[in-house]
Subunit: 395 residues, 2 copies
DNA sequence: CGATAATACTTTCACCCTGAACGGAAATAG
DNA sequence: CTATTTCCGTTCAGGGTGAAAGTATTATCG
């Protein structure tokens, strides 16, 4: 360990504290991080010099005595962009370094474009959305509807948007943007969003299941994403527990549900409608799906003992009325389970907001934040005063 | 971060290096840990003063120049005892601080004893096995055939030896021994053993499944045990994927297999015999078990993306001939899986040796080893020159 | 057998970082 | 205007580290 290590560690501690606790005085930082005032002062001075922090004199005169000068992250110093590329919609959110969303945008995915064209289109869209902040753009994170291997960023298992499996897509996207891009599974990002700002805000360990055209999953252990090497983690849809050893994903995904309804002579455009319909003939379908879902929930519970399981994706809305019963049955199967099953709080924006978090993490890492401190930033209430529906507006 | 932090960290680094790399010279330590020779010298001197290390002059004259003086852990400074309490046998292994086994013992479990009597019996057995080393006894770790919650050490789910669920058992055991005792699930310890010395020696992430009277599981991520709060992690036997939503454990455990054979009018004493028997009428039973096992293996693969899955427990021997086919079918189900399925290399001693590892970790922690360094100790080849069958001898 | 070279370890020293103590600055109370 | 309180910057001793110089030990060579 070099002599410079403690300095870097303390720097990271201070920076993380400012990022999580918003504007805060030097004294308060010292008090809450067990660092001596001298150390805090030195480090804050250095961070101010570097332009990472700014002094804000908004001190709400608590007691008598000298007024504390607060410091906060220099939010405008950079922006990040989180992108959620789905089979039907692309959602973008641009946020500053304080995780405050600046703009958002939702655009239908041009699913018929080939890989190069899609890359060009997406790059243009990102540039247009970031707008004048482009030169301050620190990082872009893109969630894709498929498995992403973190080693070589190979994308697989993306039946809903196969173009993104083409290695060209990422290469061209980065080329057009002129920046490196973070990539991950959209479910992982959705979990990251819910973990920071949504239903898993207070959970150490959480699982996200996105039930849409396919079945996706993300897992966080000790507030950090747990990705395997192949992006396979949590994909319990592969379990050969259906009839004749069929994978569960075939039962529980949108296409599976539609196929099952069609067997009964009922045709729907949208899998969620199968749940909304009151037709009694559909009861066995629903029951069938519910049993498969229970297997998957049980798998998630015994695999990770999560505190929260978040259900997201198109079909999850339709499942809301069944949540109570699901919880009950899950508890019957695994009485020791402490997991609660919730719907996604951020709705369709989980993915884009999670991508923002991932992008912020990269930006923060570049600013010198230690890996261990990343698990606590950005501050969970950054979205508090923020109009989420407005962000999702189609512009 | 206090000023003393780097010292402690470097101390831990040096100690860990000596523990993993056996007798080694100061220069080599410095070279391999990126610490300066001065720092290594200072720390080694301190460790020698404390009696934690000893100088061994066994330098095999490599080149000309001053002969390197090697240092090694003062192995005889303490001993630890690992105990694996099973439904039918209790296995003990006593080892020194260098993880060198000193004695071992296997004794039938007096399953009819009540909790207080069992505690007394076990304490006596441990004391008798440790013998003269008793005053140097650093730590005892006991693996139990049930779920152990790490918070309050509550034991549950131990149908094969229900006495151990009684809180008295642990309390009295510690009282009779006069030492605190580490407790955990026997599958967790078995995994720890295989992870250090056995089939998962080179794996970062591994899963252990013990198939015996019940179905147990242990999970390691990044070479560290992953335990939930309730000891539920990896227990995919709960999956309601059997007929009519029955839990898989009912199919795959010893009692389940016997019951299934009995339905066919065939009676066995031992579930493993069902697999050994050539009776063609048993084919459906085997197939049925294999399908359930496949679901569990798939769950383990997609849950953790392990590099290795180790099968242990009484029935696993009987499955050895099927391993190749199992691997093939698993690969069909999850092509991206990189997991290989292996039998336990340490055989019935996995659990006791894993308990030794757990006890050593506690001992090392007391010596000042940082949590991160624990994942690399003790040295994996500590058992190399060791006669395992002799350790398992009934004495 | 002594000189030399090579290697292992130790000592010295300059430097970095921290916490404790002190002192200046700013705001309120009287 | 002075006293008091609180916040913040500065000084200083202490502990810790790496680079470099110094010492010890061994093999090789003339």
């Amino acid at each position: 360990m070099e002599s410079r290590a403690p300095r870097a560690a303390n720097r990271s501690t201070v920076l993380a504290h400012v990022l999580t606790h918003g504007p805060v005085s030097r004294t308060a930082i010292g008090h809450e991080t067990d660092l001596s005032p001298a150390t805090v002062s030195r480090i804050v001075e250095q961070l101010l010099d570097e332009g990472l922090l700014t002094e804000t004199d908004g001190a709400p005169t608590t007691a008598r005595g000298r007024r504390a000068t607060q410091v906060a992250i220099a939010a405008g110093r950079g922006v990040v962009c989180g992108v959620d590329v789905g089979g039907s919609n692309v959602r973008l959110v641009v946020a500053d370094l304080a995780a405050e969303p600046l703009t958002g945008r939702t655009v239908p995915t041009p699913a018929d474009y080939d890989a190069p064209r899609l890359a060009q289109w997406l790059a243009d869209l990102i540039v247009a959305t970031v707008g004048a902040d482009r030169e301050r753009l620190d990082c872009v994170a893109v969630g894709l509807p498929g498995a992403v291997r973190q080693g070589d960023r190979a994308v697989s298992n993306a039946p809903n948007l196969p173009q993104v499996e083409d290695p060209q897509f990422l290469r061209l996207l980065e080329k057009h943007l002129g920046t490196a891009v973070e990539v991950d599974n959209d479910s992982n990002y959705a979990l990251l969003g819910e973990l920071r700002f949504g239903a898993a805000r207070d959970a150490q360990t959480a699982v996200m299941l996105t039930i849409g055209a396919g079945l996706g999953a993300g897992v966080a252990i000790d507030r950090r994403l747990f990705r395997g090497r192949s992006g396979l983690v949590g994909e319990f849809g592969h379990l050969p527990a259906g009839p004749l050893g069929a994978p569960l994903e075939r039962i529980i995904s949108g296409s599976g549900i539609l196929a099952r309804a069609r067997e009964l002579g009922l045709s729907f455009d949208n899998a969620a409608d199968v749940f909304r319909s009151a037709d009694p003939r559909l009861a066995p379908v629903r029951q069938y799906v519910e049993q498969a879902l229970l297997v998957i929930l049980t798998a998630a519970v015994v695999a990770y003992e999560p505190e929260v399981i978040v259900l997201g994706g198109g079909i999850s809305h339709a499942l809301t009325p069944d949540l109570v019963r699901l919880r009950g049955r899950l508890h019957e199967i695994v009485p020791a389970a402490e997991a609660t099953v919730h719907g996604a709080e951020l709705g369709d924006l989980s993915g884009a907001l999670g991508a923002v978090v991932a992008a912020l993490h990269t930006a923060y890492r570049r600013l010198g934040l230690a890996e261990a401190d990343l698990a606590r930033v950005p501050q969970p209430d950054a979205l508090a005063g923020c109009d989420l529906p407005a962000l999702a507006d189609r512009a």
